[in-house]
């Protein structure tokens, strides 16, 4: 049974496991970090199996390293394929970034230069991943703290990447805001350059102000600036399954669900405006 994602979801995090196992969390879908469940067995997989019976699932990876110059790892793809086979998720996603080179794994989502060389390499790796998984993937736009000289903007890179590979986009509107502030571009320009028909999911999250830069921390409520980017994205994209990522400083489930209600209201409002137009 593979469903489509629709509606509004949350990242399934440990403090709220019981509500997902019981099916009482008022969400339309859940998302988990793929690597946390790419394990032989035991309680984490048992928990996810039980939650999966109650909710459509998105598997969101952090270690595929789609931008590695030395290619993808066979063992990683094999383990992810195994998890996909077990869980039959509605969505499988990872990030437009690199994490690994020459056997070194940074465990961080590191930025790529937006060059023709990187585009060709990323597209080759996406083709290989989609073939290995037997399905279309979504790739998420990153937040970044360094920008390298490149031939194109991030949104131009993403647009060409989706055109060449057929992959979809996981649009993280917090990442757009963080990178826009850090690198001095306009979020509106970014959204205008994104092929909205390729957007299969939206992430919302919070960040903090560092000494010099905005830092994507996922430990705060979604701030007004990010809600504004979300509203603008929804006006362009139409209804897109949306979820909140909260990885640290995790509040009660009710608080996250109240934030999700804000997303629901914005979605309904923008849908109404589209119909009126």
């Amino acid at each position: 049974m593979t469903e489509q994602l629709t509606g509004f979801g949350l990242g399934m995090r440990r403090p709220h496991y019981r509500s997902y196992i019981d099916g009482t969390a008022p969400v339309d879908f859940i998302e988990v970090i793929s690597e946390n469940f790419m394990i032989p067995g035991g309680k984490p997989l048992d928990t996810l199996m039980k939650a999966r019976r109650n909710y459509p699932l998105a598997l969101h990876g952090v270690s595929m390293s789609i931008g590695s110059a030395d290619g993808l790892r066979d063992d990683y793809l094999k383990e992810l394929r195994r998890l996909v086979g077990m869980m039959e998720p509605a969505v499988v996603s990872d990030h437009l970034c690199w994490t690994r080179i020459d056997g070194f794994n940074s465990h961080d989502l590191l930025p790529l230069p937006y060059t023709e060389e990187a585009l060709a390499l990323v597209c080759r790796n996406i083709d290989r991943a989609q073939e290995a998984l037997g399905r279309r993937m979504l790739l998420e736009n990153p937040s970044s703290y360094i920008a390298f000289p490149g031939a194109m903007s991030e949104w131009e890179f993403l647009a060409e990447m989706t055109r060449r590979t057929g992959c979809g986009l996981l649009l993280d509107v917090n990442n757009i805001h963080v990178s826009a502030v850090n690198h001095g571009f306009a979020a509106a320009d970014y959204l205008a350059g994104i092929p909205m028909d390729a957007v299969g999911q939206i992430h919302l999250a919070g960040h903090v102000q560092g000494e010099h830069l905005l830092i994507d921390t996922h430990d705060q409520p979604v701030p007004d600036e990010v809600w504004a980017v979300y509203r603008a994205a929804m006006e362009l994209a139409g209804p897109v399954p949306t979820m909140i990522e909260r990885d640290d400083n995790i509040p009660e489930l009710e608080e996250l669900c109240a934030e999700l209600d804000v997303a629901r209201a914005i979605s309904a409002d923008t849908a109404g405006k589209r119909i009126a137009a």
């Binding site: 690597e35 790419m38 394990i39 032989p40 067995g41 035991g42 309680k43 984490p44 997989l45 048992d46 270690s63 390293s65 931008g67 590695s68 110059a69 030395d70 790892r73 063992d75 990683y76 690199w98 994490t99 690994r100 080179i101 020459d102 056997g103 070194f104 794994n105 940074s106 465990h107 961080d108 590191l110 790529l112 230069p113 060059t115 060389e117 990187a118 390499l121 970044s144 703290y145 360094i146 390298f148 850090n182 560092g210 000494e211 010099h212 830069l213 830092i215």
Partner: protein, 246 residues
């Protein structure tokens, strides 16, 4: 600069933290963010894996050890959970006169591995039906591990896990070992009884119940050997350690 060269420069910056490596990436405050993210994630991962070791050493000593480990062993696995694989051996070199430190680390690591190990159905005691005890081989569930101990690290670990005052570190009797395995979804452990380690090893090597009794008889005498083997099997069945006998 090629993508490969850029990624190698980035790796060098994260691993070495040298200004020259940051300069190759253009410098600026962004490089420091990535350096901080890299080290913070690794320290957090180690602290999550070695929770009782953090309590035993204190946060400051643990973080110093973690920082030295990060410098010595840059991560290679795609899963952060694997990063602590060599940490037990590493802390053994940092605390050579305190063997309980590495043994607490080993218990932390092993319990974590058992927690996510392969699933296996344990044989219920009432389901035991052996046609031929002469050739019957005991197969334990795959999570069963034997950890040799030179100290009372198991008692210290247990006290720390239950937020009790841990005992002082002491040397254990020669031949002490603990067994770690999973009962359903929860890891459990206890000290191995006399001969238990041997019987487990012989069973793992494929020796049947009769052969094991014979080997025990060499030290215990024939009657006590059969009783000991039977008692151990009964205990393992009751504790969910046996996958099959036959």
């Amino acid at each position: 600069m090629s993508l490969l060269a850029l990624q190698r420069d980035f790796r060098d910056w994260l691993v070495t933290g040298k200004d020259t490596a940051a300069a190759a990436l253009g410098g600026g405050p962004g490089t420091a963010v990535y350096q901080n993210n890299y080290r913070t994630a690794l320290v957090s991962s180690l602290a999550e894996t070695f929770q009782r070791l953090v309590l035993w050493l204190g946060e400051e000593s643990f973080e110093t050890a973690a920082a030295r480990y990060i410098d010595a062993r840059p991560p290679s696995s795609w899963t952060l959970d694997a990063y602590g694989e060599d940490f037990t051996d590493f802390v053994a070199t940092l605390w050579p006169d305190d063997p309980e430190v590495a043994e607490i680390a080993l218990i932390d690591w092993t319990v974590g591995q058992v927690f996510v190990g392969p699933d296996a159905e344990a044989l219920a005691p009432e389901a035991l039906a052996v046609a031929d005890w002469e050739t019957a081989v005991i197969r334990v569930v795959p999570s069963v591990l034997v950890l040799p101990l030179s100290t009372n690290a198991d008692a210290i670990w247990q006290a720390l896990a239950t937020e009790e005052a841990p005992p002082s570190a002491e040397m254990a009797e020669r031949g002490t070992a603990m067994l770690v395995w999973r009962q359903s979804l929860e890891p459990v452990f206890r000290r191995a009884e006399a001969h238990e380690r041997d019987v487990l090893a012989w069973s793992a090597a494929g020796q049947g119940f009769a052969a094991i009794s014979e080997r025990l008889a060499a030290t215990l005498g024939e009657d006590a050997a059969v009783t000991t083997a039977g008692t151990l099997l009964g205990r393992w069945l009751a504790e969910g350690m046996v996958a099959a006998v036959g």
